[in-house]
Symmetry: C4
């Protein structure tokens, strides 16, 4: 029996949530989960429809994106996941989708402005849109560089990946992460909903203003940090 | 057996209707129901996914938001519900959601204009958007003050909470209420549908005008008051 | 056993199709079917949720909107249906909904322009929007006058109700009709889909032009008249 | 037993996928599959609701659109399918829908701009919109000429039908094709999703620019050609 059985199950379940939440069409998305002790992560195989996906199809890779276990080819985005796990020790899961509204913002090359508390419950800044990669990087090790495109964008903005758990890759689509694969999936759904609300907000009021600081802070602290009082813990 | 069994069941059912009606993502919403004789209301526990919610998880609180019965922490919005029950004797239920279109109007800081009879069947004015709270109130007892933000907005507009049973809290999201929790849930769905229709109306005709008085009056009176002739009672 | 059993069943099924097709929220809609030989039509009772509706709840009325059989109060729009059946001998069914996109066009007081063959497969003109009623008519026998509002609008435009089987009532919502209740339900879904497509067309191209005459004619004739070649008859 | 049993089953399944994917309302669409050895294709009968469709209803036609086997009348669009099969030897399936967003672009007479990698994963150019047909062609053999309208548009743009597998027919709706009927159905869903994303992209940023060449090339080559590395083959 595989030493990675539990990790594969967690990853399978995270992946299966994506079509349930309406975040992927066909195979346009993938979720992964990490096992820090074993130094590996588990990811969806490339191009397998969700309806056909089985736990045993999940592929195990190391943080240089080498396959450790599995008979199928891993997701074509595997190197991006690997870079994020390697650079960010605190994250436990990564998700990539082409969800409709978040992808539209990425195609528009626009950050998603923070207009309300739905957004502030999850992060206190706009959701950043990383500018498209330089041509020589695209022609090189593209998916590997996509990882650094994400990391560099957060650095340039001065954002902490433990507080900002979602990004738009310009002209491409969103990536999200979190303490667990489950949380990364949750963040993908939040990103899509916030993207839709922000679009509608600007349609209704093209001069809509960002949420004021006091509300950003209050709502984020309701859910995060030592004085949080949301949920049961 | 709990003395609040029926109240908990009513509250459980009202909460479960919210995801069924497409009004909440994850845990972004809560419904409560009151028992005026016992001086308590029942509300969803904080942060519990709807799929996991059970009748016995429902928390009983008094009108100062103290927990009277229940092992879980009540919704983080409990104080807002408490204020509304305390100030408005006639209401039997309160609902809060972050439904997509109503929240977009709240984020846009715009009242939802009354453009048609779907709206006028339920209220004869625009759906008001309460302006964001002052910073010192946000830093103080925020959820308690949200209750007064709602009450004050209605007062300033000269609206009766028995006739206007829904409001947008600016930069946040809608709150609705009604004679029962079931009616408050119904009003949340009406608010979302009317919000979507009003958005589309302005997209189609940016110069769209409010419904004329005679139609507002006629449609409201079809459903409300002594000469109503809608429904079976 | 009721002499109207078959008529009630037909009407029940037509009504139940409305929520299935996503055309009604709660009780915001009603379908009726006529029996010309008996001089009656059958219609949904007022305010009864679709989930609770039963065949035996369906109410039988004459063409002056008097109840002939049934223990429940008929739809509040019954007089509008009655007028249409009385004036237009060829129609067998009438449907009223507040479907989202068609209602938005009605609230915008705009005809739905004929932009493509999806529209032309069903009618060769814009879908007309009847202007709001005069105040004294609203204060009078409102639902009765709504019937004439529809009939008069078609007359003024020079439209034949056998060819144009759908209309928007300004600031209110769509009404449709057809040879059968089933066809009237079908027309309600077509009206909503065409309304959505026309809205999106103008969003994509604010200068979009109406379909040219040759295409209007060709597509309508594919489905209607002696030389039609669509379907199996 | 029919010599075309397998072909009919493939065609039936392709057709049934269309409502499942939300691409057709009522009977507004059709899928076909070819058997090159037998020189025939199988297509949906005209006007039959998907809920009633059976494998044995599927009609077999030759490449001049003559019925070879089947008791029902084939789709009114059969001649368009026939022309495409006759002219393009490599294709195995053709699909026509009136899916909402793609049809809106067709009604707007606009190509769908390539704004992101979701689009570039499938084709490296805008999705072309063929201009409406000349009036005398419409009055002539309309569906036959629709086939040439599609073929001519691709020729004028210098597009290869093996690389561009989808088109909008101006004022009408999309047609897609592919190596198999299954792939043609897949392309219809991709076309609709890309149409929706492009619409939203322009709503968010009216000055949105096309994807740059390096990204177009990279994403297309991930999925197509000798160096592709997407999927399991």
């Amino acid at each position: 029996m595989s030493a990675y059985k539990t990790l594969k199950e967690e990853t399978y379940e995270a992946n299966m949530r994506l079509p349930e939440l309406g975040l992927v069409l066909f195979t346009f998305g993938n979720a992964s989960a990490v096992d820090r002790n074993k130094g590996v992560f588990a990811i969806k195989p490339s191009g397998v429809p969700y309806a056909d996906l089985k736990v045993e199809d999940i592929v195990i890779c190391d943080f240089d994106a080498n396959v450790v276990e599995g008979s199928m080819r891993p997701s074509s985005d595997t190197k991006t996941h690997a870079v994020l796990y390697k650079e960010w020790n605190e994250i436990g899961g990564v998700v990539h989708t082409h969800s409709t509204y978040a992808t539209a913002w990425a195609q528009a090359l626009k950050d998603i402005p923070i207009f309300g508390t739905t957004h502030a419950d999850h992060l206190t800044s706009d959701i950043p849109c990383a500018p498209p990669m330089k041509d020589d990087y695209i022609q090189g090790d593209y998916e590997h560089m996509t990882g650094y495109q994400i990391i560099d964008c957060l650095k340039e903005r001065g954002f902490d990946h433990n507080e900002v758990e979602m990004i738009l890759v310009g002209n491409h689509a969103p990536f999200t992460w979190g303490k667990t694969a489950h949380k990364a999936v949750y963040n993908s759904a939040v990103c899509e909903e916030v993207a839709k609300m922000a679009h509608l907000t600007l349609q209704i009021n093209p001069n809509a203003k960002q949420l004021k600081e006091a509300l950003k802070k209050k709502h984020f602290e309701r859910k995060h940090g030592g004085n949080s009082y949301y949920g049961q813990e």
